[in-house]
């Protein structure tokens, strides 16, 4: 069984250690005996969604994000079909913002891909912090680092990726971070996200494997080091704190 990860536009979107997310998914598949194939799509390439099991859309500068957004508009319909059919997407920072309806800045508005019901407005100052989230679907907290100017708001009834225990989250106000929609995870967390959060990585892998007809729980791995790195962040930044608004 082979899982194919499509890394979208790494030549433009490659801030904040996105490579770590790719490496993490690849290794955790291989450790379980699955083949993992990573295809890097550059700007001129055609993306074959039928062959893709996981899409990774990373972060970039505003200028680079704009270039990517224009390109993605051309394949919006294919991307939407992929998402609606349960295709797995992990979108980080700039990639997360692109999933929504629009990203507005004082210099002009960028139309998003309308894949998920959310909008982002650029604000000031940038929200920069270590961050810890909680979500009951995960056995322990999600930890990472955030650095974004955008303030994202989710549409009515749209689920977030987690509740903020420490840090800012989507907009620094409503206590929510990221988005979960079908098999799409959008988030401002990097660090990168997946190595310190193997439970999130496995969540993505499980859905990708299910789409290929592999059901049942994933084989357990020895995550001692991952859990220690995760716990270090929780203990240092979120000790004794509860999710905002609860």
């Amino acid at each position: 069984m082979k899982i194919t990860i499509g890394h979208l536009y790494p030549d433009l979107l490659n801030l904040y250690g996105d490579r770590g997310n790719i490496q993490c998914m690849k290794m955790r598949l291989q450790w379980r005996g699955y083949d993992a194939d990573v295809i890097e799509y550059n700007l001129g390439d055609t993306i074959d969604f039928a062959k893709t099991d996981i899409v990774l859309l990373g972060g970039g500068s505003d200028r680079e994000q704009m270039i990517v957004c224009r390109r993605l508009q051309e394949i919006r319909k294919d991307f939407q079909a992929y998402v609606e059919n349960g295709g797995v997407v992990i979108a980080v920072c700039g990639g997360y913002q692109l999933l929504g309806h629009e990203y507005s800045t004082p210099d002009g508005d960028m139309e998003g891909l309308h894949l998920v019901d959310l909008v982002t407005k650029q604000g000031s100052p940038r929200l920069i912090s270590n961050i810890v989230l909680e979500n009951p679907i995960f056995p322990y907290p999600v930890t990472g680092f955030e650095n974004h100017g955008g303030r994202t708001r989710l549409g009515e009834g749209v689920k977030s990726f987690g509740k903020v225990v420490c840090g800012y989250g989507n907009n620094g106000e409503d206590g929510q971070e990221g988005v979960l929609y079908r098999n799409v995870v959008g988030t401002y967390l990097h660090g990168p996200l997946l190595p310190k959060n193997p439970h999130v990585c496995d969540y993505l892998l499980r859905h990708a494997l299910e789409n290929r007809g592999v059901t049942g729980p994933l084989e357990e791995l020895d995550d001692t080091q991952e859990k220690q790195a995760n716990a270090y962040i929780v203990n240092r930044f979120a000790k004794g704190k509860k999710p905002q608004g609860s």
Binding site: Y16, G20, Q23, I67, I128, F145, G191, Q225, E226
Partner: protein
């Protein structure tokens, strides 16, 4: 000179001495105190420098290049003001001048050689206008502090505009620095390496994907084409669409050998822009391909300032960095090398120089996430650590505040690391059970304390 200036200088000196006794660096604090007492002090002291003021900017190589320039000038018998320790924001720059001045506010200096943090140039240039500015390179560095490279470039552009007469000595192999320097309209001098050097990246066969900035032409947005890369985005490039490209190189390193230290010739283009002629041969007993750039930048800057270079070769022989940049220690029978590695481009180059030493070795990596390091350590994942998977490396130990992240980083390239959070314990352990050839790579805030630990151990 008023009472205010005297008060500022005397207080700053007292504070600096006190910090030294207390084992703290305190340079920045001394500068801050002096500027608070007398806000005009930096301007007044800088105006007393008799000759040229040379400044060094750029993501990597600032401290080494700047200290080399200072040594080159001192070797010619000049008195130089220099911020040796690498305190390179406004207050650190002020301290360098204040701590060199007499209590009466007199500064006896032929030249000033000052490194400036890129983002601080706009705060420093209102106080003095440099004659020569070296721009070493632009890489991603501490995204949480500086933001994207575009933001750093905007700040440098503003600073350059403040000093229209200044000549810029720029690394022509870096498309980003070259673009910035060319667009500024300042008189330019370029340095670079025109020949492809085997082993420059150290992983030509490894098939790794080094993260490269500036893959797209800053002038027109099209993808740049490269004849070859040295490392990161440094190389021989041109834009197929708008004609932007690597400029003619005024100071070119050639006949390069990386075996047993560095060995190369510098070819210099004559002022009438004719053919390059061999100007001198360099032989340096320290490692690291990137040091070719540092030496080239230094030589080009000194020549551009019109200062003699009669003792350049002997200066390099005697040059012994004592600031944790490639600094060597002898602790009992063991050889210890300390080096700063604070961003992906710098770390990759450090790994290259570690691997140039093919004898058995132990490695300690110290990663902190204090404010000066950048609180975001995601850059660790942009470093090609897989290259450490090599039989000559006997052990890797991770240490510092974010040792957990560092250990995990290595786990995902299938490299085992021991974790000892306390730096001193880590060094002691590896001196006890290691092979006697220890490399310690640290990021910024770990540098000073690790240096002190090793210095104390060396004294025994």
């Amino acid at each position: 000179m008023g009472i205010r200036t005297t008060a500022a200088i005397v207080s700053a000196r007292a504070l600096s001495s006190f910090c030294k006794i207390a084992g703290k660096q305190g340079v920045t604090m001394a500068g801050k105190l002096a500027m608070k007492i007398d806000p005009g002090i930096l301007k007044r002291l800088a105006s007393q420098v008799k000759g040229e003021i040379i400044v060094t900017c750029g993501t990597n190589g600032k401290t080494t290049t700047n200290n080399l320039i200072c040594s080159a000038l001192e070797a010619e018998g000049r008195k130089v003001v220099c911020n040796h320790t690498g305190s390179n924001m406004l207050m650190g720059v002020a301290a360098a001048f204040v701590l060199s001045a007499s209590p009466g506010g007199r500064l006896d200096a032929d030249n000033a050689v000052i490194e400036i943090d890129e983002a601080s140039t706009v705060r420093v240039f209102p106080h003095f206008k440099p004659d020569v500015c070296v721009l070493t390179n632009l890489f991603r560095d501490q995204l949480d502090r500086y933001g994207e490279i575009d933001i750093t470039m905007d700040l440098l552009r503003k600073a350059f505009d403040m000093a229209p007469e200044m000549r810029i000595v720029v690394n022509g192999d870096d498309s980003l620095s070259t673009y910035l320097a060319q667009e500024s309209g300042h008189p330019l001098v370029t340095y670079g390496i025109s020949e492809q050097v085997p082993g420059a990246q150290g992983h030509a066969a490894g098939g790794t994907h080094e993260i490269r900035e500036g893959q797209f032409c800053k002038r027109c947005g099209n993808r740049l084409e490269y004849r070859f890369y040295h490392y990161s985005q440094l190389g021989v490039y041109h834009c197929p669409s708008c004609g932007f490209g690597r400029p003619e190189i005024d100071y070119d390193a050639c006949h390069i050998s990386l075996k047993d230290g560095l060995c190369f010739d510098v070819a210099e283009r004559s002022p009438d822009q004719g053919a390059r002629k061999k100007a001198l041969s360099i032989r340096a007993n320290y490692r690291g391909f990137y040091n070719i750039y540092n030496i080239l930048a230094c030589y080009a800057a000194v020549r551009t300032a019109g200062i003699p270079t009669d003792h350049f070769g002997s200066m390099l022989d005697a040059y012994n960095p004592e600031n944790g940049r490639n600094e060597q220690f002898r602790i009992g029978p063991a050889k210890v090398l300390l080096n700063l590695a604070k961003n992906p481009a710098g770390f990759n180059q450090n790994i290259s120089s570690v691997m140039e030493d093919t004898s058995p070795k132990d490695l300690i990596i110290v990663i902190n996430d204090n404010a000066q390091d950048g609180r975001d350590i995601s850059w660790l994942w942009d470093v090609d650590f897989d290259r450490l998977c090599d039989g000559s490396i006997r052990s890797i130990t991770v240490s510092g505040l974010r040792c957990q992240d560092m250990r995990l980083r290595l786990k995902y390239v299938s490299i085992h690391a021991d974790l000892i959070e306390d730096v001193k314990s880590a060094i002691e352990q590896r001196l006890k059970d290691g092979c006697g050839n220890l490399y310690v790579l640290v990021n910024y805030t770990a540098l000073y304390s690790t240096h002190n630990i090793l210095k104390a151990m060396e004294k025994g």
